[in-house]
Amino acid sequence: MSNRVLAALAVFSLLLISVPAPAQEELTNVSYDPTRELYEAYNQAFQKHWQELKKADVTIVQSHGGSAKQARSVIEGNEADVVTLALASDITAIEEAGLINKGWQSELPNNSSPYTSTIVFLVRKGNPKKILDWGDLAREGVGVITPNPKTSGGARWNYLAAWDWADKEYDHDETKIVAFVKQVFDNVLVLDSGARGSTNTFVQNGQGDVLLAWENEAYLSLAERPGEFEIVTPPTSILAEPPVTIVDAYVDKNGTRELATEYLKFLYSDEGQRIAGAHYYRPSNPEIIKEFADYFDLGLKLVTIDDPLFGGWEVAQKKHFGDGGVFDQIYEK
């Protein structure tokens, strides 16, 4: 009798062991450098959301690094379910490697960019050099800090924003535009390889008079060393659209398509948009951005990369930053 009980117990416990616990789903988000705090907050909100929706837990693994480097790691086999990068061209590179389906950018609203940002000037307290607009960057004696557009996604926006200003100032005369951009880069004291390196050069090492920075990074620098810097928003700038998408090949392999889709869709929800705003990214929802009007200059005129002036990332990349492109020529002359 007791033997039977024991046997039954044994079988029961075996069953208990072998019945798999509800599998913990895992999602890998490969992102670029300055989004860590944004996604840290967002992931918590999403975990709660997923719990309400599916009654299941989800673990989110984050990866941060330079945008192009992160894109390369995905191409080389880093199995990201979603990528949330700085530039559409980096995601296009993954698409060209055959991992993301064509037409990804129209799958989600607003060019697949749930939040945007722009380029602003970070200057020293009191703005001693009176740097107010792009033209001031070319003035003699102004020390400019920007990362290298060849190695930093953010720096490409800096360069293009300057180009846009000069285009209007010099009435599309490309010789004059190039001369202006060259003058700005002649004023560049240190050409760091990444945005964070530049911020460090400006903030910790006290180099230069103005740092060309992402709006959200500029606010982080203010928080890092309060009372030492000011943000100057130039009258015109560029609309930086950091896009997000699913990596089709990997979600199919990992069976996470539904989870990944919901993860990105939730970025567009009111809650997701407010989290972006709270981390100094401009929410794409025109109603929600108004809630953050105290620190976003909403009157700013923003040119986009798809403006005929640039003709989209592919064209701009080749013309300006490719091997032997305008940026190379600036330094070769």
């Binding site: 300055p34 693994v61 984050q62 941060h64 880093n78 964070r196 928080a223």
Partner: protein
């Protein structure tokens, strides 16, 4: 193998990379004797130094006394020769008994190296520590006990442990093979072992990506067997191994080459097997070189950033080693935290190195009575 082969390889042989002092010049049966003298002299030299700190009446001086005294006059001669005069040798004998060279030179050299070390080592160290503790002790503790920091630390320790163990075994085997036998292509093999030093860390990471990554030729095989190397722990370990391959081999080869093979041959002729010969005859002689190299190797393995950064994928809590975690903290505008975590690496290495220094000191002290 022909004699011809033996000759060619003799030329290309290692050529005791880090220099084979004196001994290599000696030959025949005398070599053994010379070595004994040398090692004894070395120990005497060390004990003499210890005694020197307390100037006269050092307890260790005894064994050395006569030679010291005998040399002293000559030494004084030598110095005077350097400065021009040769007079008054005898009166100086007593006073200069413990000195071997011009104190001015000694002082200058110490001063120069202290200034150099201060500029190149101490100041950077202070810079790191001042940044690390700049925001106070609480901030430091919070940074180093963060969950992700602890996870990164564990991964770093695991990676270093595996890489250092593998490279130590390899270094010993390679050093044995390269110094105990002559064969064709010896020079090439040494160069291959050296190669990782000459490879940029970026490339060191890239080559593993291009081999085992999705674009690599090994990808279909790995995919079929559901093996993951890059962007996972194995890749991180492999990159670390690659970067630190030469350390142990490099340090052991010259020492073994300098010792010659006489003792091993004798042991083998007396009937000892491979392992017994190695552990009882060879190992004791290379003990310190081994300790040095393992520490050097560990320091480099723990601190390696470039190569690992390429193969890691930076997955937080999964494939982030300590150096990568530091970079991430820095990029996230957590400047102080980044330096606080760097301080872990710095303090660990200093503790290990000081410990080594002490162990060395204590054990050499213990050896001394036996010598005398």
């Amino acid at each position: 193998m022909t004699t011809d082969a033996a000759e060619t390889t003799a030329e290309g042989l290692v050529t005791p990379p880090a220099g084979v002092p004196g001994g290599s010049g000696e030959s025949g049966g005398a070599a053994e004797e010379v070595k004994n003298i040398l090692s004894e002299a070395e120990r005497n030299f060390l004990s003499g130094r210890t005694g020197r700190g307390t100037e006269t009446g050092s307890p260790t001086g005894a064994g050395r006394a006569d030679s010291e005294a005998a040399d002293a006059g000559a030494r004084a001669d030598g110095e005077d020769g350097g400065t021009g005069g040769t007079d008054g040798t005898t009166p100086r004998r007593g006073r200069r008994g413990h000195r071997q060279e011009n104190p001015l030179i000694r002082g200058t050299l110490i001063a120069v190296s202290l200034v150099f070390a201060a500029l190149m080592l101490v100041l950077p160290l202070l810079a790191v520590l001042s940044q690390a503790f700049g925001a106070g002790w609480d901030n430091f503790v919070r940074s180093v006990t963060d969950t992700f920091t602890v996870k990164a630390l564990k991964l770093t320790l695991l990676t270093s442990l595996v890489a250092v163990t593998a490279n130590t075994l390899f270094g010993l085997t390679a050093a044995w093979a390269l110094t105990r036998y002559r064969f064709r292509g010896q020079g090439l093999l040494v160069t291959l072992i050296d190669l990782p030093f000459a490879v940029s860390p970026i490339i060191a990471g890239l080559i593993f990506i291009l081999t085992y990554g999705r674009l690599g030729w090994a990808a279909p095989f790995l995919e079929a067997h559901d093996l993951k190397i890059v962007f996972a722990t194995p890749g991180i370990i492999m990159a670390t191994v690659f970067v630190t391959i030469p350390f142990v081999a490099r340090e052991i080869i010259p020492v073994l080459a300098a010792r010659g093979t006489d003792e091993e041959q004798a042991a083998v002729l007396m009937g000892a097997g491979f392992f017994r010969t190695f552990f009882q005859v060879t190992l004791p002689h290379i003990r310190w070189a081994l300790v040095y190299s393992v520490i050097l190797c560990s320091a480099r393995a723990m601190g390696e950033f470039g190569a690992v950064s390429v193969v890691s994928g930076h997955l937080r809590g999964k494939t982030n080693t300590l150096p990568l975690h530091i970079e991430i903290l820095f990029n996230e505008h957590h400047y102080r935290e980044a330096f606080a975590v760097s301080a872990i690496l710095v303090i660990t290495s200093i503790v290990i190195l000081t410990a080594r220094s002490l162990v060395e000191w204590v054990s050499k002290k213990e050896e001394e009575p036996g010598v005398r």
